[in-house]
């Protein structure tokens, strides 16, 4: 192992479980244990545990906490009551985004926890501090472990360890584990029902082992980052560095539902709006391949007439559908469902078709909502 890599509190657990470990954005992380496709199926059918301790946690508190989080993010933070969570964006001052994140309201007006992407934590924290509107901003990332428990049996498992604390969707509850405070949030990134548990770093391994032990009869397994990516792709959930980046206008990614320019001001608001008013050139679509070939990030899209019309942001074999699927930006005129276009795969034009998303439709999360 490269000694420059950062490790989570669960490193030894992964090695003991026989994980294949890789360098993921500077972190020493499990990409798979028994096999990606198997793990993907475990989450869709049973329950899986993900080590997401590499995610960043930033606490923003004080009398100016709300004003600061409102200025830093695009969604309506004032709407959040205690224990409620919200998916949102951290805009830059050019109409693009620094990151996407979840804001958890610990105490309305006074205290918020922002959960950000691992690879962006330092950049996000610096950006928040630079654009602070008088709050106290603390990077607590190294103090927290985080375990995502996801799948149709996830709630059943969590309830065995934390009886009667399960929150409704997009809410969290604070409770105790091994003498320390933990947060259980009804959020996730797989399209399945489940929770993400924020647990102090020193207790993360103990909770991980307990979840594996208590969930044996539910077929619980550890799931690597490989399946995490295929699961989120099947839902067309955006991933920073793929669907979102410094330059793309998030309206083009279909994220208008988390951008609230009519009721608040935020960093880069005028640029983001101007981009939308000019008319969005590209739109983010989901597509499936009609011929053989797996689309990959960066592959170019062409119209049937041979004009360049966009690019792939994510693509994979969908383990659930056993079909090759992709996400990409395409000229707005070609973004309608049913439109046929080509993906250039190794100098070959392979036919694809715009399809409705999420690609997978009957997950436990969709059934319960």
């Amino acid at each position: 192992m490269n000694s420059q890599l950062k490790v989570t509190p669960l490193k030894d657990e992964h090695i003991r479980l026989g994980a294949k470990m890789v360098d993921f954005a500077g972190w020493y992380m499990p990409v798979e244990y028994k096999g990606l496709r198997h793990e993907h199926g475990v989450v869709r059918e049973h329950v899986g545990l993900f080590d997401v301790s590499h995610m960043g946690e930033v606490r923003i508190k004080g009398p100016k906490a709300l004003a600061t989080v409102e200025w830093l993010t695009t969604n309506d933070v004032s709407r959040l009551s205690n224990n409620q969570a919200q998916y949102t964006l951290l805009p830059n001052d050019q109409g693009g985004v620094v990151d996407d994140l979840i804001v958890y309201c610990i105490e309305k007006n006074q205290e918020y926890l922002l959960c950000v992407n691992a690879s962006n934590t330092d950049k996000d924290f610096a950006w928040m501090v630079k654009n602070n509107r008088g709050a106290e901003i603390i990077n607590e990332s190294s103090q927290w472990g985080q375990i995502a428990v996801q799948g149709p049996k996830a709630l059943q498992l969590v309830d065995r360890i934390f009886p009667e604390v399960l929150p409704p969707t997009f809410e969290m509850r604070s409770t105790r584990f091994a003498g320390e405070g933990v947060w259980i949030a009804r959020t996730g990134y797989t399209g399945e029902d489940g929770v993400e548990i924020f647990v102090p770093a020193g207790k993360t391994a103990e909770l991980w082992r307990l979840l594996l032990d208590k969930g044996q009869d539910l077929n619980v397994e550890a799931i690597g980052l490989g399946a995490r990516d295929t699961l989120r792709t099947e839902m067309k959930y955006p991933l920073y560095g793929h669907e979102l980046d410094d330059e793309n206008n998030p309206y083009a990614a279909g994220l208008g539902w988390v951008i609230k320019p009519k009721i608040k001001d935020f960093i880069g608001r005028s640029h983001m709006l101007a981009g939308r008013e000019k008319g969005l050139k590209h739109k983010l679509i989901g597509f499936r391949m009609r011929d053989r070939g797996i689309p990959r990030q960066g592959y170019k899209l062409f119209s049937k007439e041979g004009e360049p019309v966009g690019h792939v942001t994510s693509g994979t074999l969908s383990p659930t559908l056993n079909d090759n699927i992709g996400i990409g930006y395409i000229d707005t005129g070609l973004s309608l469902e049913g439109t046929v276009f080509n993906v250039e795969i190794r100098a070959r034009m392979v036919e694809a078709e715009v399809v409705p998303t999420p690609f997978v439709k009957d997950t436990s999360l969709q059934k319960q909502s």
């Binding site: 990606l36 295929t230 797996i294 990959r296 994979t316 074999l317």
Partner: protein, 129 residues
């Protein structure tokens, strides 16, 4: 680390292909080390019979769910046989990459190119087994 099967009689490339030489016909596949690193193979693209390949140049690809990997020709020559079963059922490549999972047979242009390939002891050093 599991011990990978590295037969003495095969030749190897630094890109983890194996080559089995029978007179002027070379059977080509990927090593156990390569399949283990790739993970589950979900897509295989191979050349057609009659196509020319060049030593050190890509002749096809294998893809896992996560990654695309070029297949590199161990020798120059003409493809005389393609294992179509691997294109139809890519997962079989994980089961037996050294035998049933062979990919193509090449009629090689010159035996001299074999000198550029590794033998088993050197390949074992490369993959540290």
């Amino acid at each position: 680390m599991s011990a990978f099967n590295v037969p003495e009689e095969f030749y190897y490339t630094k890109d983890h292909e194996w080559a089995q030489v029978d007179e002027n016909v070379v059977t080509v596949g990927i090593t156990e080390y390569a399949q283990d690193n790739l993970g589950e193979v979900v897509y295989v693209e191979l050349p057609e019979e009659g196509q020319k390949v060049t030593q050190g140049e890509p002749f096809g690809v294998v893809e896992s769910v996560k990654a695309v990997s070029d297949l590199i020709a161990p020798v120059s020559g003409t493809v005389i046989e393609v294992n179509m079963a691997m294109m139809d059922n890519p997962g079989a490549l994980n089961d037996d990459p050294m035998n049933d999972g062979w990919l193509i047979r090449i009629e090689m242009d010159t035996e001299k190119e074999l000198a550029n390939l590794m033998r088993a002891p050197d390949y074992k050093k490369l993959i540290k087994v």
